[in-house]
Subunit: 547 residues, 2 copies
């Protein structure tokens, strides 16, 4: 079994048969084959693939003229606008690395990211200019600043000394010979995690992974040529799960959306022929709870891909009735977006709807470009039994796992130890091989040696008609080590007290899982709407003695 | 622009984030997610993905037990049967290289291939056993011989001392830990070219390219999950254009077919819910010219992918009427099958049908996983103008270009010189960037310094109602250097003489393009039905003096 078989001789890589994988070429192809096809819809704007590609090259050329090149970070703080799409191509086309900033962060966190990412240039939408100005005043780096004035935005906002985005583009060459990455392992983007577990980390993605996940989106979900995609998912989140690149691969149409509001969404669904959209379950709620005057009859099924949390049963039925097929996806910033899919079996459609919802709440199986997905005991690195019960840590292996965390080799080594990416999510494997998340490692509660899933306790609370939001964390306990503590927001107009809720929990949970305390009031969230349990934990550091 | 940016530090490949690309994992995934989905239909047989995968692993295990490993050649001579599909997975799963032999070749050529490929083991269908026995008696290598007894075949055929395929499988382990390739550049298969230009070469493909082209088939043609694929294309031809692997990626169903006859094709179309099939234009003729009793009404559009020659106008109209959408593909064994696609524009459907046929006769644009396609002057390596007139050599660059020719470094270097794969096909580029083939380099006729496309002359002859087949080659000419010589087969019952046909040509061609001689009679073809012009050229080596 030597390396030197006849198939290893005289058959080496050459430029003719080996090129770095990169999603950038998808745009070149779309523009050359379908130059007049509409690539981008934004308000009244209809931009063709020829123009999209020309503008991306102009951007790359202008950035190169301003000294941006391989390994330089270009930060952007943009809504889901044409400029954001252009940056997904133009920035890596000059060799630079795209850093998309969550527009809902505060100035201090933005300043931290700019410094940590060593940002050299910033593109900012006028709406976010004051916030960016504040962040820059706090930051150590002094990037060039480019201001994007979206015609669809007419509110206030300016920043001193910034160059105009369109003026910048005008200096660029639409025929610029853009740079292929030197290697498909080269960085294409950096995205900071949402900080749910406390410390945002700079996840570095490469061209190879972006190429594969972009194709994986289309393949896993059977997205056909010329699909029309509505931008309800923020592109600053994991590069919009790589869909900015997927759409060029299938020569589809992007329908931009500055703000995720129900009126514009229903308008686009009806008027622009939207076939696909993505978002957290909150986007489905928004679509469903739209005023009746906004809602429209759709003459085709629309594909909705949801992630961030399992889709609740109530939404699934109403989405189906409204004309949407909902697919449940799961992934992390570290996996380029979704890398796990709840692959649906046709015969499941014959089951009762609560049973369908139960099956759809499971996160599922690996995406095609993910080589392996498993739930392992993190100590032994052995897979848990497929019993739907035994918890382990969800782990990923393959070409759509990040390069690592930027400037953080120890976190990178820890995350990629033992040949697997450790997600920090805890889950089980069902007998059919579908995984289901149960908790985050940091959120699990260990009481008297027993594991308690915070999600299970939350689910019991959610079933109470008065409860709007529930978050359960571990609280120190003198006898049991830890016990659950619940934070609860009530539905408006509802009153229920701690005693009543604990009685409810005793009826629905094993005794040791009943929260030792229940605290009412607003629950802290990240800018993306995720609950910050690490802050809740800090609030209950005093040991509790019941029950 | 050093290599050492912060994005190059502490962010290296590990098993967690880098795995070799290989199509073998597609089957593992399909079997684990849809174990009960029908993978293979063959006569009355319905084989699930779980069984398909288990059998592929048994095969890999049994082959490994018999000493097959990395870099060993396993040859197969099989019809489009379940065993052929199993070999597409089982052989590379033990690290070996799959060598599929065209079942229509003669013993001498088979013996040449076995020796050249250094075959260690042969799997042969009982129908071809006598031919293989003859080939083995001529060959120097002495491979192990495995006999496949397809239940759908009940004719004669045996071979001495062969082990039975099912018995072999029974010795294998269905849970065999199959081998990932050490590197995605490792060989997965070897296919000999059809020998149209005289010298069959052993084209070596790698796992990376097979993975990418298999996905490219689905992406380029919008093949949805659970498509049903009918095997009218021989799998021994370029690994069935990688469709054996594509189908696992989309968890589709293979409908096998021992023989390409119109009855079974129409039966499968109607009874098995076939959505896709591939083949040369001859397969379309076969479908169309089926007796009326065989034809069936189809309750859906069927996708037909055709390559090897442009689809003739007459067939396109009747295929459309019968319910088929025809897509024209182009590629070579050296590009894993199709790497060029006639991407159709929706608005072309409004054109008159002859105009549509003209547009569809063009080979088109690059497949998504092909990084570049161009028509270059082979001397200067400069692209020809996009005028639809100027001929150059069609060249390919990218990850779906072969590793090279087996044990033939000089041919490999020549084929991949200057950063492009030289196809030997001559073509033009139209103003919209679509390429169109005009001839093969070796078939072009140079008369008085003017290039004459043999295809153009053939097309003029084909338009004559009496002509069934026409082949035009260069014939030496005392004054002009070369002049066209035509070989013609007439439609049955037709008579036309050389004089009449030359008059016809004078009405349809520039004078210097009119054949100096027209020879009637049977035209030699390769086993795949391609005309062997090199044999025709040998027959007209005498210089001609007219006109
Ligand atoms: N379908 C889903 N169901 C349940 N949870 C999901 C789903 N999809 C994503 N998640 C959760 O979101 C996480 C990924 O989110 P993201 O990468 O945006 O940042 P984060 O993990 O919240 O932030 P940080 O890593 O800084 O704590 C997953 O680890 C998982 O916990
Ligand atoms: N759509 C098409 N239209 C015209 N010609 C085609 C088309 N598709 C394939 N071909 C021809 O088939 C060739 C590829 O065939 P293949 O690789 O099977 O062997 P071959 O080239 O005929 O054999 P050899 O290389 O030994 O001469 C192409 O180079 C081209 O000439
Ligand atoms: Mg995380
Ligand atoms: Mg050839």
């Amino acid at each position: 079994m030597g390396n030197d078989t006849p198939y290893d001789q005289g058959l080496d890589r050459t430029p003719a048969n080996y090129q770095p994988l990169t999603p950038l070429g998808f745009l070149e192809r779309a523009a050359s084959v379908f130059p007049d096809h509409v690539a981008i819809v934004h308000g009244a704007l209809r931009r063709s693939y020829a123009d999209f590609y020309a503008r991306a090259r102009q951007l790359a050329s202008a950035l190169a003229d301003r000294g941006m090149g391989r390994g330089d970070t270009v930060s952007v703080m943009l809504a889901n606008t044409p400029a954001m799409l252009e940056c997904h191509y133009g920035v890596p086309m000059c060799g630079a690395v795209l850093h998309s900033i969550n527009t809902r962060l505060d100035a201090a966190v933005i300043a931290f990211q700019l410094d940590h990412a060593m940002s050299k240039l910033v593109v900012v939408d006028r709406e976010f200019a004051p916030l960016m100005a504040e962040a820059l005043s706090l930051a150590t780096v002094t990037p060039l600043v480019i201001l994007y004035d979206d015609p669809e935005y007419d509110g206030p906002g300016a920043i001193d000394g910034a160059e105009d985005y369109e003026a910048l583009l005008a200096t660029g060459d639409a025929a610029f010979a853009w740079h292929m990455p030197r290697d498909e392992w080269d960085a294409i983007s950096i995205n900071y995690t949402s900080g749910t577990t406390g410390d945002p980390k700079g996840v570095v993605s490469h061209h190879r992974g972006a190429y594969l996940l972009a194709q994986g989106n289309a393949l896993t979900t059977s997205m056909a040529k010329h699909s029309v995609y509505l931008w309800t998912l923020p592109m600053f989140h994991c590069n919009g799960w790589c869909f900015p690149w997927t759409l060029s691969a299938i020569v589809g149409t992007h329908v931009c959306l500055r703000q995720v509001r129900s009126g514009p969404i229903w308008h686009a669904l009806a008027e622009e022929g939207v076939t696909h959209l993505c978002g957290a379950p909150i986007v489905m709620s928004l679509i469903q709870s739209a005023p009746e005057v906004e809602k429209r009859a759709l003459n085709r099924r629309v594909q909705f891909f949801t992630a961030a949390a399992p889709p609740p049963e109530s939404l699934l039925a109403s989405m189906d009735a409204a004309g949407f097929d909902v697919t449940h996806l799961y992934g992390l910033t570290e996996t380029y977006g979704p890398a796990v899919v709840n692959e649906w079996h046709e015969d499941w459609c014959d089951l009762p709807s609560n049973e369908q919802a139960r099956l759809k709440a499971r996160q599922g199986v690996r995406y095609l470009p993910l080589e392996d997905l498993s739930v392992l005991d993190p100590d032994t690195m052995q897979p848990v039994p497929r019993d739907g019960q035994t918890m382990g840590e969800v782990m990923f292996r393959g070409n759509v796992v990040m390069k690592g965390y930027f400037r953080n080799p120890s976190a990178t080594q820890k995350a990629l130890a033992g040949g697997w990416f450790h997600s920090g999510d805890l889950g089980v494997v069902h007998p059919d091989g579908y995984i289901q998340l149960k908790d985050r490692s940091k959120d699990i509660i260990i009481s008297g040696g027993e594991n308690i899933s915070s999600i299970e306790v939350e689910e019991a609370l959610y079933r109470h008609p008065s409860v709007a939001v529930a978050a359960v964390v571990a609280m120190p306990h003198e006898k049991w080590g830890e016990t659950p503590c619940a934070f609860v927001e009530l539905n408006s107009g509802q009153t229920v007290d701690e005693h009543q809720l604990r009685t409810w929990c005793r009826e629905h949970l094993a005794p040791y899982k009943v929260p030792g305390r229940i605290i009412f009031g607003e629950i802290p969230r990240t800018s993306t709407g995720k609950i910050q349990k690490f802050l809740l934990r800090a609030r209950v550091s005093e040991p509790c003695q019941e029950p």
